[in-house]
Amino acid sequence: MKKNLYEEVGLTYEEYKMITEILGREPNELELNLFGVMWSEHCGYKNSKAFLKQLPTKGEHILQGPGENAGIVDIGDGYAVCFKVESHNHPSAVEPYEGAATGVGGIIRDIFTMGARPIALLDSLKFGTLEDSRTKYLFEGVVSGIAGYGNCVGIPTVGGETTFDPIYKNNILVNVMCVGIMKKDKIFKGVAQGVGNSVFYVGHTTGRDGMGGATFASADLTQESEEKRSAVQVGDPFMEKLLLEACLELFQTDAVVGIQDMGAAGLTSSTCETAARAGTGIEIDVALVPKREEGMNPIEVMLSESQERMLVIVKKEKEEEVYKIFEKWGLHAVKIGRVTDDGMLRVLDNGKVVAEVPAKALAHAPAYVRETKEPEVVKISQQFDIYSLPQPQDLNEVILKMISNPNLASKEYIYRQYDYMVRTDTVIRPGHDASLLRVKGIKKGIAVTVDSNGRYCYLNPYEGVQLVLAESYRNIVAVGAKPLAITDGLNFGNPHYPEIYYQFVKTIEGLKVACEYFGTPVTGGNVSFYNQSEEGPIYPTPVIGMVGVIEDVEKATDISFKEDGDIIAIIGKTFDDIGASEYLSYYHGIVSGRVPKLDLKRHKETCDKVLECINQGLFKSVHDISDGGFIIALLESALKGQKGAEVKINTSLREDFYLFSETPGRFLVTFKEEDLSKIREILNDIEVEIVGKVVNRFEISGQINEKKLKLNLNEVERRYQEAIPCALKS
């Protein structure tokens, strides 16, 4: 054996020694490759799992927590929602179209393997700024990749977020969340139960694409990463659509014992993980695997990450059902092995044993706890004095500049390319706080959102992630739904750097506390380390995907102003939370300051009471106030409703701070004047600050203290709509 073969598969010397101890002998080349890929960061979570365990994962609605292909929450009426977020950062940074497309494909399979029908996709995307020509290429590629795959497979892309910041220039982030609906008593799991049951390979053929993708995702991006393009998988959404329909049809029979997607590490992960979960063994023969290329050796077959494939454990006497259904859909279904009782993953090539390793040892990578060190920026940024900022003279000009900021501007250029209406369940479309889907046949609806804020988390990882969770919570509440649970996509740099590991550890600590407080457990997710290039790491970027339920979908609220004369108010008190804000970053060019102060208790109370008002039908529009502050929320609500506003604000704060403050726990709402007393009664000691009223003239007019506000909304709308397309053209 070559001395450094273990290094080539991404293992350390210590890990190699562990493997020889587990096996009681030297591993052969195939076995070493199996360990290499399963013990990679991407599959093995070796630097994260010691901490992930701390997250709250249980709750009255939780039917399935972490450890399966996706989490599941009970929404009542016999239905459950299955959801998960996953990253596809490295592939998308190298090959944006296919990287993003297969990211979509992978997460869809995670949902339907659980027995759910996928009903919605959301994306959290992070790019460099659009002045950079490669960023334009990556941006266009990622968006068309998501569109190309999601549209074809017929699942609406109903929401998401897109942020531009130079920090992501060389390491873009593509996190995709999929949501599915199912009957709560029809859950399928990735378990290889029942000794003697058959192991089926179904779906697309196996090729050499995506070779070593998991290992590729477990190292920093470098110049050489460009040459690893072959590690990026190639997607076939048509095949996915057929696989989806065939699997859902198969679930209607009683043939399936267990099922798992062949995602990262393909056949290797699906076989050893299903066996490990069930405490069984699996024996497969790679010669039986349908291949699209000739001369593939067992290593290539076991490591291929070709897309649109599934491993199905089938009751021995029910094999005919599988053949019948997959033939109808024109897909491969081949019996490649069987479940055994010896706990081993045994790989055969034409009947000859070529690898034999304990399934559990493969599936359970060693866990590491690394050194941490608080990054200097966390302390330094606290010292930043926001009152040293020059006070702008013309607020109207500042507002116009802020609305032209691609981070705050309309994302219609993006979501217009996604079919967000297919399946005819989308009640609240992209461009609002959360998207809302009805469930045909019942009154309930499902609210979904995905959020992040890398800048907050960079300046304060602990409070940053709590602020992100709080924003998700408000987004769900804003449409009238009760938040139920989250999935987390944790994106960080290289965990071997103590500052990065500190960010990760603090993120988990912060998330744990806030999730417990808000009553939104974590049902699963994804950790993506090594998001860094030669120029340094990304901001720590935990992405929160949240799901909520509304009892009566007809009572949902959206952000748009409805009727002339409606009162406009801010629920919750505004403080001078300008540190870490979009205003500070975009207008003043400074990334520093204290992150907005989050009072978890007050925040939850505010949200619960706002929800109560919505349930009683008191609010005509509700908009979460977050990035860009009150004024951006006001403009968005006006533009969506094609209405104007007259405002009169008296504040002790500096006017620019008032307008752009990102104090959490606030909502911009409208209501009929006669409902004010009822609203005040419900909100009790939560502030209701009346700031103006809705008018028919398409403009914002009025004043804040002595300063005049006057904005022509046609001009605002033009800038809001054209910011991204114009930046792409320049």
């Binding site: 217009r416 079919d419 209406m421």
Partner: protein, 231 residues
């Protein structure tokens, strides 16, 4: 009334059409699998939207060779009502049940949006419950909806009143600025000379319920029933 919704591998809007017919307008509806090869015993056949056969080669190009297609041609020749929505429209032009072709959108991107269209004529089985020149909202979602046809055929179509829907704005203006995909004469929907085969890029099934924001599309289905009842 008995509706049939054809399911090709890759059809995505089959269940949406099925839902509207069954649950919104409360009529009988059945799925028809793409390899169905017997006489079609239905009052109206719908070819739904989606990406039949992945739209590989060209949208609708492979679906036209499905076993069910000769049966649909036979059904149409005997005067049966056929509606092709989005991908269904593409299949109908590929199989020459309708003239012209649908090529990539002018901006080369997929477009999903609400869209105003003008009902040019109500003298058809599919639009008889609309007012002539009524402006309605029918969402679009397609990458290849740019309708093209040769000049001679176009003149023929105009003469025979085969142009049924045109893209426009809220006020009904039909011009380049109100054309989302580059279609000739802003064409959004057409029928054959006999007026029993209707193809349209917008999705009436997506605007048939108040909960989804608009009910303008519902009258396409109701018009069909109205026509069938009075026949």
């Amino acid at each position: 009334m008995k509706f049939g919704v054809v399911v090709f591998p890759g059809s995505n809007c089959d269940s949406d059409c099925y839902h509207v017919i069954k649950d919104v307008i409360n009529e009988h509806v059945e799925y028809i699998w793409h390899d169905y090869d017997e006489k079609l015993d239905f009052d109206c056949i719908i070819l739904p939207g989606g990406f039949s056969y992945g739209d590989y080669l060209r949208a609708g190009a492979i679906a036209r060779f499905s076993k069910v297609m000769p049966r649909i041609e036979e059904f149409a020749k005997n005067g049966g009502l056929v509606v092709g929505i989005c991908n269904g429209f593409q299949i109908l032009t590929e199989s020459h049940l309708l003239p012209g072709a649908l090529i990539r959108n002018k901006n080369l991107k997929f477009i999903c949006s609400d869209q105003y269209v003008k009902v040019v004529t109500n003298k058809t089985p599919f639009t008889n419950l609309y007012k002539e020149n009524e402006v309605i909202n029918l969402p679009i979602a397609h990458g290849e909806g740019n309708y093209v046809v040769d000049e001679a055929t176009l003149q023929e179509m105009i003469k025979n009143e085969q142009i049924i829907l045109q893209y426009c704005d809220k006020e009904g203006n039909i011009n380049e600025n109100t054309n989302p995909n580059g279609s000739i004469l802003n064409i959004a929907g057409i029928c054959n000379k006999e007026k029993n085969v209707f193809g349209l890029m917008p999705h009436p099934e997506r605007s048939s319920e108040k909960l989804l924001g608009c009910e303008d599309g519902k009258r396409v289905f109701l018009s069909i029933i109205n026509y069938l009842r009075s026949r």
